[in-house]
Symmetry: C2
């Protein structure tokens, strides 16, 4: 931990040079990406905290790390001895970063952050805090980068075109739809900062970010032009030709700032302050007028088309086979060899690699045994890698990218004897999961109306999970995607998205008892149309995920007749889909694992 202290000391020296009293280091690249490549992990370098979400704030006297409920336990462990204080975002009495900054700033001090790695929306909130105290603002110096020794480069990975048989819609058509939406709100220019929106629009994938096959780039769309700002060195002749045919010009990644600052006054520029960085915003807003709202691409890409849906069913079949083989191995082979969290994750990935069109993992797999399962976003490292014994729970949350789409599945396995309390909790989680999956609702519902169907059985049992019930899933993109989600706490700003036919959202309730165990059961739900009659359009879900829910953890007497029917219905579907693809032994085992209760 001394190394962290020493890094912070060097940062403070730079802060002093620039009279910076409060320096803020987010976890972002220039696009507010959720996952970032090593080049942009300044917050991790300076704090030692490796979670995907978190912001470090450094003053001359102290340093604080803000992160959310998923990471409280992990952050506590990783910050130990660094002197960095943990701020639990969302807990009562915990100040927001801007409130903390306001408190620490004064008329003769300066607030600093790197304006390229700070989202415009967050930057504006921070700057307002500085203004309230009459403090200065410095956004042009990457002080963290300046003290970072041996900073990794951005990787030069290969670009490829996602064929129409996977994407289901050509870039020309997608561009036309985006332009039609721009027309509606009278936007002259649309600047896209979100890498997944760009990849979706261009049907191009890359590998600039681990687990998210996208390309660091910006896109500017006008009525006539479409310019892709991307690092020239990764461009190939083939891609250039592909783009040319679709009317897309290529310019260098860094040229976007200068180009945008040259926009004529009065031009109306659509951008989303939540995924455009502050430097980019100020380049635009120097002259032009900003229309701050979600890119139309966000909603369009969330609604999967028929080709994508057909493909997704294939992807989930493949993933289901891999998951089921893992479960078969765990249930029939446990005890015969030494299992560890990492060997389990590796076994699963090996089963995936046997499948056609497998691209890679969609996120770092969680394989968490016993008490590790209570750490919501635990990922086993070489040091932590726990040995799995024939008792308690093993929680595996993992996903894959296939050309046919992206998956995200969690299963919790009973590795042997369970206590009655453990079975009760497992059953309650399963009930929540099923009640949501089999919901029937009128069109117009958002995931905020539906969340409680999943959560209520847990709340009745006096427990809660400190994360959302579900998130949208990208198609060979980020496994976490908006705007659809299942949540219970309404966001303060945004209007939640209505659940539309074709949206895919995860359904992943859990129970986490610190120091004891964790349980989570996660399926992906495709929103489909149901009956349309006198009361309006009813909507339902199709469960895409195909893997047994471990009946060794289920107490049938704690489920209603309807809930048992749901579970039986789901297991029958799982068996029917997977059986033809399994060996005789696996199939026999699966028949029992999906038996009626």
């Amino acid at each position: 931990m001394e190394i962290i202290k020493e890094r912070l000391t060097r940062l403070r020296e730079r802060m002093k040079e620039h009279r910076v009293g409060v320096y803020v280091i987010p976890s972002s690249d220039c696009h507010e990406s959720e996952y970032v490549c090593a080049h942009y992990r300044a917050r991790e370098y300076l704090s030692g905290f490796t979670g995907s979400a978190g912001t470090l704030v450094v003053t001359m006297e102290e340093a604080g790390l803000w992160t959310d409920g998923r990471y409280f336990l992990q952050a506590e462990r990783q910050l130990k001895g660094t002197g960095i204080r943990l701020f639990r975002s969302g807990e009562p009495e915990v100040p927001k970063i801007e409130e903390y900054a306001e408190q620490k700033l004064s008329r003769d001090s300066v607030l600093g952050f790197d304006g390229r790695t700070m989202g415009a929306h967050r930057a504006e909130t921070l700057i307002r805090a500085a203004e309230k105290k009459g403090a200065g603002v410095l956004v042009t110096e990457d002080l963290a980068g300046q003290v970072w020794e041996n900073r990794p480069e951005i990787p030069d990975t290969e670009l490829y075109v996602l064929d129409l048989c996977y994407a289901g819609e050509d870039t020309k058509s997608r561009l036309a739809r985006v332009r039609a939406e721009m027309e509606k709100i009278k936007a002259d220019v649309h600047v896209l900062g979100d890498l997944c929106d760009i990849a979706w629009l261009l049907n191009i994938r890359g590998g600039d970010i681990p687990c998210v096959p996208v390309v660091l780039s910006f896109l500017c769309v006008t009525k006539e032009d479409c310019i892709w700002y991307v690092r020239e060195q990764i461009m190939t002749e083939e891609i250039r030709q592909y783009l040319k045919e679709r009317g897309v010009l290529v310019r260098d990644y860094e040229a976007v700032y200068k180009d945008l600052s040259g926009l004529a006054a009065g031009r109306k520029v659509l951008l989303d302050k939540k995924n455009v960085n502050y430097r980019l915003l100020t380049a635009v807003s120097g002259q032009a007028d900003v229309i701050d709202r979600r890119s139309p691409a966000e909603l369009m890409k969330a609604v999967k088309n028929d080709t994508e849906i057909r493909n997704l069913r294939t992807a989930h079949l493949k993933e289901g086979i891999a998951f089921t083989r893992l479960m078969y191995w765990l249930k029939t082979g446990a005890g015969k060899e030494t299992l560890t969290e990492r060997s389990v994750a590796e076994y699963l990935d090996a089963r995936r690699r046997e499948q056609e069109h497998y691209v890679g993992q969609s996120f770092a797999p969680i394989s968490a045994y016993g008490a590790n399962g209570a750490i919501v976003h635990y990922s086993p490292t070489e040091e932590s890698d726990a040995k799995i014994e024939p008792k308690g729970f093993l929680l595996v949350d993992a996903g894959g990218h296939y050309l046919e789409g992206t998956t995200d599945t969690t299963r919790t396995f009973a590795m042997g004897e369970l206590s009655l309390e453990q079975k009760r909790m497992f059953t309650t989680v399963c009930r929540g999961n099923l009640n949501l999956a089999y919901a029937r609702f009128l069109h117009g519902c958002t995931g905020y109306s539906l969340d409680l169907l999943c959560r209520e059985p847990l709340w009745q049992a006096g427990v809660d999970y400190k994360h959302g019930t579900g998130h949208g899933v990208g198609y060979l993109l980020n496994v976490h995607e908006g705007p659809n989600a299942f949540r219970w706490k309404l966001p303060e700003q945004e209007q939640p998205a209505v659940l539309e036919e074709g949206m895919v959202t995860t359904d992943e309730p859990g129970v986490y008892l610190e120091g004891q165990y964790g349980i989570r059961t996660e399926n992906e739900l495709l929103c489909v149309k149901g009956e349309n009659g006198a009361y309006g359009q009813f909507m339902e879900f199709e469960i895409l995920t195909l893997a047994p829910i471990d009946l060794d953890g289920i107490l049938p007497q704690e489920m209603t007749g309807t809930e048992k029917a749901y579970l039986n219905d789901y297991h029958e579907k799982v068996y029917r889909a997977l059986a033809p693809h399994l060996t005789e032994a696996e199939r026999e085992w699966l028949r029992n694992a999906t038996r009626r209760i």
Copy 2:
């Protein structure tokens, strides 16, 4: 219906004089009150539609009435033959009033409405529509009033002070709390337009609006002063003295416009555009700066204090006795005399009048037999008054004002034989009602998260009710009160209110089959604190309403074990509370009516 056509003709003559192309007549007084006294029912006079919600829009060529789902059937019936077109608000393809107005207006026509009976928020939306088309705007002429023959006067009813033993908090304390909130948002002046907010703040009740014991008035609060603008002729020496002791000055109702237009420039005026009329807004905004948001009084009055809660339990005991006596009479006496919808409502009110401190009905009672039950806000008239036969459902939705608070209860009674389908629906409604009432939820939930607990059993059965699941209830004020509510469709603008300890909200799912029958079961729920532990503060409900749910409609086999336990628990509570206050015969009957299933 000819009389309506003739009235519209006279209105159009006036419109022509003023070059008005589109004239809008809402259902409002000068306070956007939900119920209005006869003096302000211009929309009813001109359209014949008697529902509480609806807006009439008249052009030279056509006239349209906008109303919501509660009134579709009623409006259809009442508009027949008038030539007025029904616009079903909220249905797809139905334009909003402002969209319709925009379509009808042009550069050389004028949009007109009476700026005093049009809420500021709605007025601004309409004016934006006119501006888009370059049309003029006329807000100073009450054209509807000008053609209204024999327009009723505002009644001169008596004012009275609500004693501290009922209100639980003195005006001085309430004023201090409001001023503290004004201080927080740096408001110099707070103009209150909502009559219930004012009555709550002053602890004064009157009778200017049927069923809502309030006083037509405005209130202006500054750090030092508090001025009540009220019709001088209803002021008494006693009230004047009471107000003086609390630092409240009295000025004439109409003086408010002039006083506010004289505010110094730069003064910050807190008001809620949703309950302040447009003339008042323009008086203020001529010079001063408007802070448009909910009055702090709204949230304060929604959270009932300990005295109010204690009293409410008493009020519900009284109402429960009355409702139970009605049910006893219906169940044991039916067939012995001729029952009609009105005789039932009258019997219930007579039982209430036997109770101490009864003030009056909190709304026009709904007593709807058979197919009339499907008309959500049906109220029997002399002509419609249906004879009740020994079969099918009778739906009674009624409430009373007591000095101990206001009630709102709905029970649906099986008057004899029911079909299996009717019992299924009745059971489903009961399940929805109970699932919400026995919910357990973390503090922070709004009624938008919880609504689906109630609605889902109905949606699973393929039916819906086209109204909210519940509304807040005033204390000897409007039976419908915000900001708490149970709804599934998120509002576009406002942030829904978090359910706080002390809030009272109704829980009233239903099923309405046009031409057949209607079912609704309504209880009032008091929000109370539950367990507070590692997961946060859990909240629960206490059911305030005390009246049996008719077991003749219940199919126990269609309920889960948990749901049956809920119903048994509730019925046990009802029996225990009511039994000591009933006759021997009633008690015996109640024991059976609340038996365990």
